[in-house]
């Protein structure tokens, strides 16, 4: 059976920890934990050597150190991770322009159009992983499938340093025995609900009537039924065709008050600005997202007078929105996203005021970042406190190859 669509999900293995092991020979083959403050921070990455002891990312550092007292704890070096990420994304872009970043170390690739050029989906995945190993010296795993969420499951099962293909005709058989928690959008809470309904495996969901699921679960029920039958029409969306571009961070500790949040929002706005410029688009709408300590989520958005790709302008707009949100509770996550993107010609100004200067500055900063890494020049409020890129989708130098690819 030919591939109606060939999607590869590439996920770097224990990304931060692998970078540390690559750069420090003393850490190779040893249990390594990358994390912040030993008492208050959380684990950002755990090498495969330390995982048998039960250490996982997002776990409090205090607990991780107790589980694996012999492990080496490394402070995160985000600039190094961003650089590695960029090299990896450059490799992705050399195989297809349709790369959808999920985070610094993870992406979907639609290689349907590349099959004639580079071989079967599995061959492409193998070549990508070989090149990452040779050029960036890091391990990566890949899942190959005809729909996005199956590719993601496959890469997870292939870890570490492996790849797994799920041919289109065997997708349903592949899914059948897996637990329902593997379905996209099923968290611990909905997993309990599904179990209460007697649905333990994906096959259990697939065997039900969609109407029955809808009655029990609402629209989510229909969606889960579709996923269980490997129906997932979501496309791979590269930044250039994206509806929005955003960056967000969950903090190691909940933050209190606008002064504590400002540097995080600033860093996110600057990251979004960079990605807008790389994709050659400008945003008309800026949205600020806040998740409070009680997990309640609020968003505030504003339409700008003029579309922008300037991180500082995004920051100002986002901070205005912060003023409209309640800060009575602590905040565990902030996010800035740029929406209503457009790439049409830009109106020039009679009186060369702010925008022009910002443009020149951004173009100079982008060049410095391209050459020396993004830590080379940072704003004063972010200096010394390197931006946290865990959930970011940042990479450089993709603009040119992408533009070429789309012709």
């Amino acid at each position: 059976m030919p591939w109606p669509k060939a999607i590869i999900h590439v996920d770097m293995d224990a990304f931060y920890a692998s970078v540390e092991q690559r750069d420090d020979p003393n850490l190779r083959g040893k249990p390594v934990i990358v994390g912040g403050h030993p008492r208050r921070g959380v684990v950002l990455a755990a090498s495969y050597e330390v995982r048998p002891f039960g250490v996982r990312s997002a776990m409090p550092m205090a607990r991780a150190v107790k589980l694996a007292p012999h492990a080496v704890v490394a402070r995160p070096r985000f600039a190094a991770y961003a650089d590695a990420s960029e090299q990896v994304f450059d490799i992705f872009e050399s195989f297809t322009p349709l790369v959808e970043p999920l985070s610094l170390d993870e992406a979907f690739l639609d290689v349907t159009g590349s099959l004639k050029l580079f071989g079967t989906p599995s061959q492409i995945a193998a070549r990508i992983r070989e090149r990452i190993a040779a050029e960036v010296r890091l391990p990566a795993s890949a899942g190959i499938a005809s729909v996005k969420f199956v590719a993601k499951i496959a890469s997870d099962l292939a870890k570490p340093n492996g790849q797994k293909e799920v041919p289109p005709e065997s997708t349903r058989d592949f899914l059948a025995p897996l637990p329902v928690a593997r379905l996209w959008g099923v968290g611990p809470k909905s997993e309990q609900t599904l179990k209460a309904l007697g649905l333990r495996t994906i096959a259990d969901v697939a065997a039900r009537e969609p109407k029955w699921l809808e009655r029990k679960l609402g629209v989510v029920g229909t969606h889960l039924w579709e996923l269980s039958h490997a129906i997932d029409p979501r496309e791979v969306v590269p930044d250039r065709g994206a509806k929005s571009i955003g960056a967000e961070d969950t903090f190691e500790e909940d933050q209190d008050g606008p002064e504590a949040l400002a540097p995080h929002i600033h860093s996110q706005a600057l990251r979004v600005g960079r990605r807008l410029r790389r994709a050659g688009v400008k945003a008309r709408v800026v949205q600020l997202k806040l998740k409070y300590s009680d997990f309640k989520l609020v968003t505030r958005r504003v339409t700008l007078k003029e579309p922008t790709d300037d991180g500082q302008a995004l920051y100002r707009a986002a901070m205005d929105q912060l003023g409209r949100a309640s800060l009575e509770r602590k905040v565990r996550l902030t996010g800035v996203s740029a929406q209503e993107l457009r790439s049409d010609g830009e109106q020039q100004c009679l009186f060369q005021a702010g925008p022009r200067r910002a443009e020149k500055l951004n173009s100079a900063l982008d060049k410095i970042a391209d050459r020396y890494g993004r830590g080379a020049v940072v704003t004063a409020d972010l200096a010394g406190d390197e931006p946290d890129d865990r959930d970011d989708e940042t990479r450089r130098k993709v603009g040119a190859s992408r533009a070429g690819g789309r012709g």
């Binding site: 007078k305 457009r342 049409d344 010609g345 109106q347 020039q348 009679l350």
Partner: protein
């Protein structure tokens, strides 16, 4: 207070008030007009704290006094009365009644003492101006006023006295600029220039439109403008600030100058911009020997092209423009041909009547 008045007179007074009274305001009294009856007649005053209009009307005053009433509701009532005459009488507790034939309205008002006082403009030195000239100047500049409230200096039109009793109006939103210079019959007494706010300018235009040939007077004092014509006084607060150095951005002479048939150019711009990307109105203007070509393309819709014959013999050049900015200008020029001057891709386009720069528009290009 009690008076008899022609319904048409009161309607005219309330019509003048409609654009000024505030509909959404934290001060409810600003939605009202102040109606004052004295021996000489009736005045109706509308004021939003920035712009005030006092309209005077003949009436048979039986008892002097004052009330304030909703500008909107009384306007609607007056327009729907059965007879040509009405009686307006003040009742206790700020109520008022309007009687016309058998029709009777009892209306809630507010105490006249609560109505804010208009600034007194005795210091203003009034100069005679031609209403129709003022109208022309407003029409040729007001479309370029910025609506971006963060650039409040540009939220109005700059009025500047020039030598020989001339006046100059300039408006810009930072992307385009429109300038007109005309002879006003009297000499406006002004040091430097003033910025007349958008809303005030449009109210002034409405008042001038009533009778463009009426004798008008205009004057300035402190930070206000005063406008008078028979039976009407208008005061408005001016925008306080320094208008940008606009002369700096008007190019002396474009490298390329062509004469373009105005209506033909205007229509072509309108039809080609139907296919501009993302509602941006972006079009490309290509100038090649003998031809001016307008193109647009929209990745979702398709592309469009139109051509005009022009007497051009230079090197080929393509410049992006917002078609609406050009169309706005072409709509207010009165000649059949328009002089269109261009520099390079990054320089502004300049439009004016052939051989006459007393009206000049400058439009910045778009990067395409």
């Amino acid at each position: 207070m009690e008076f008899r008045i022609a319904a048409e007179e009161l309607r005219k007074a309330l019509y003048r008030a409609q654009g000024i009274v505030e509909k959404k305001t934290t001060m409810p009294i600003l939605a009202n007009v102040l109606v004052t009856a004295s021996k000489t007649g009736v005045t109706v005053t509308a004021f939003d704290l920035d712009i005030g209009v006092v309209s005077e009307h003949p009436a048979e005053v039986l008892k002097p006094g004052a009330v304030t009433l909703s500008a909107k509701y009384v306007f609607d009532i007056v327009q729907s009365l059965p007879e040509a005459q009405l009686t307006l009488r003040k009742l206790p507790n700020s109520y008022a009644e309007i009687i016309s034939g058998p029709a009777h309205f009892k209306i809630v008002g507010m105490a006249p003492e609560e109505f804010p006082k208009l600034p007194k403009e005795e210091n203003a030195q009034l100069a005679k101006v031609s209403g129709s000239t003022l109208l022309e100047m407003i029409r040729k500049t007001s479309f370029a006023i910025s609506t971006d409230e963060t650039r409040y200096i540009l939220n109005g039109v700059f009025l500047e006295p020039r030598e020989g009793g001339k006046g100059r109006m300039v408006a810009t939103d930072g992307h385009r600029l429109s300038l007109v210079e005309r002879e006003l019959s009297g000499e406006i007494k002004l040091k430097g220039g003033v910025i007349i706010p958008r809303k005030g300018l449009f109210e002034l235009k409405r008042l001038l439109d009533e009778a463009p040939d009426a004798e008008c007077q205009l004057g300035f004092a402190d930070s206000s403008a005063l406008f008078k014509k028979p039976g009407l006084t208008m005061v408005m607060r001016l925008i306080d600030g320094q208008f940008p150095e606009y002369q700096r951005v008007i190019p002396k002479e474009g490298e390329r100058q062509i004469s373009v048939p105005r209506v033909r150019f205007l229509e072509a711009l309108k039809r080609i911009s139907l296919l501009s990307a993302d509602k941006s109105n972006a079009v490309k203007i290509q100038l090649a020997p003998g031809v001016l070509r307008i193109t647009a393309n929209n990745p979702d819709l398709g592309e469009a092209k139109d051509e005009l014959e022009v007497p051009y013999q230079g090197a080929e050049i393509t410049i992006g423009f917002n078609a609406r900015y050009l169309a706005d200008v072409l709509s207010v020029i009165d000649t059949d041909e328009v002089a269109f001057e261009l520099g390079d891709e990054h320089s502004p386009g300049v439009l004016h009547a052939p051989g006459d720069k007393s009206y000049t528009a400058v439009v910045m290009p778009m990067r395409v």
